[in-house]
């Protein structure tokens, strides 16, 4: 299965989930599939979309939060799995697009050459729900149950590495604008106050 096909399945089944995307391929593909402003697209802090998503999920316990992570990012912060398991946020789902390469910089191989079993690592960290899906029809078959289950849950989407750079364009806004679009979208949806009366 290709990364874009897997992301498309997630996007179609997203429902009302708020998404946090790891930088690079995950963010760009999620933007291409959803064009959504109630998603946060990391531009830096590689590895820490996971922690950002956990903070968001703990703060909005009644909102489904989906983390669209990638294997390169997960490896930058494997400790996030311990923190995620310990906090046991029922509203947080963790997806890992695993292509075994650093796609955004030209598909250079990742450490350990695609042998790492991230679902097994998550189980060892305390996740009771963790699995790897390698085929598109299998993802289509399992996605309703994945959407319905409680977090913390980790789903590794094993996708084919693609040749060279993945040239899906990034979202059309960035920096402070992303902060305000995302924050305002959450204020509208959940009736919360992200920014104070003077706008900061």
């Amino acid at each position: 299965m290709k990364a874009r096909e897997a992301i498309d399945v997630l996007a179609r089944n997203r429902g009302g989930a708020v998404a946090v995307c790891a930088l690079g391929m995950a963010a760009n593909e999620w933007w291409a599939a959803t064009k959504s402003e109630d998603s946060f697209y990391m531009h830096g802090a590689m590895g820490f979309a996971a922690s950002f998503a956990l903070g968001l999920a703990l703060s909005l316990p009644h909102a489904p939060v989906w983390l669209i992570n990638a294997d390169g990012s997960l490896c930058m912060n494997l400790g996030c799995l311990l923190t995620e398991a310990s906090q046991a946020a029922r509203n947080l789902k963790h997806f890992v697009v695993d292509n075994g390469v650093y796609q955004t910089v030209g598909a250079l191989p990742m450490v350990n050459g695609g042998r790492t079993d991230y679902a097994a690592i998550a189980r060892a960290a305390g996740f009771t729900r963790a699995r790897t899906i390698e085929a598109l029809d299998e993802l289509e078959r399992q996605i309703p149950a994945i959407v319905a289950e409680d977090g913390p849950a980790l789903t590794v989407l094993r996708v084919e590495p693609e040749k060279g750079f993945l040239r899906t364009p990034p979202m059309t806004y960035e920096g402070p604008e992303m902060k305000y679009r995302f924050g305002r979208a959450l204020e509208r949806r959940f009736g919360i106050e992200v920014f104070g009366p003077q706008g900061y």
């Binding site: 820490f48 979309a49 968001l56 703990l58």
Partner: protein, 170 residues
């Protein structure tokens, strides 16, 4: 940390409306962390690396939750990249309470570089900071927290050895 100081800081954090704390302990901030962990009104998240605390607090900001990240000076050095590329880039405020290790009264050789280079590093990034040195300074925390929100960037509140260990502690 003198118990009354931890209690006073805790009280001021409550006054700020803080309901989430993410921490990785340094022995100077450990008593404060354990006080916050015991508070049922605060969600406490123990992390494996300090940058996790930074990103957790950043995510919490978008959930409308006020938060604090607690760590030692060495931990602050480990997460300057994340503070720059997440918080500086998107102008996301994050309030950090950090032990000011490596000060002239901190005779630990492994803290020496932190003492010399942490503040110049913050200045290079243009991250503001404030130093709490005396128990009477603790009441400034709500002003520091509001300034952090207004300045929309990482803001470090340092706790000195004198504050956490008490005057004349060995």
């Amino acid at each position: 940390m003198a118990m009354d100081v931890a209690e006073r800081i805790h009280e001021q954090l409550t006054k700020c409306g803080i309901t989430l704390a993410a921490s990785l302990p340094d022995d100077w901030v450990a008593p404060l962390i354990e006080r916050l962990a015991a508070d049922n009104h605060i969600r406490h998240v123990r992390v494996a690396r300090e940058a996790e605390a930074v990103a957790i607090c950043s995510g919490a900001f978008f959930g409308g939750v006020r938060s604090v990240a607690l760590m030692g000076a060495t931990g602050l050095l480990t997460c300057t990249g994340e503070l720059a590329t997440l918080n500086l880039r998107h102008q996301i405020p994050v309030f950090l309470i950090v032990s000011q290790r490596g000060s002239i009264d901190d005779h630990r050789i492994y803290q020496e570089v932190q003492g010399r280079r942490t503040i110049p590093l913050l200045q290079a990034y243009d991250f503001p900071y404030h130093i709490l040195d005396r128990p009477d300074d603790v009441s400034s925390i709500p002003d520091v927290f509001e300034t952090c929100r207004m300045q929309k960037r990482p803001f470090v509140l340092f706790l000195t050895r004198r504050l956490v260990k008490g005057e004349g502690a060995s």
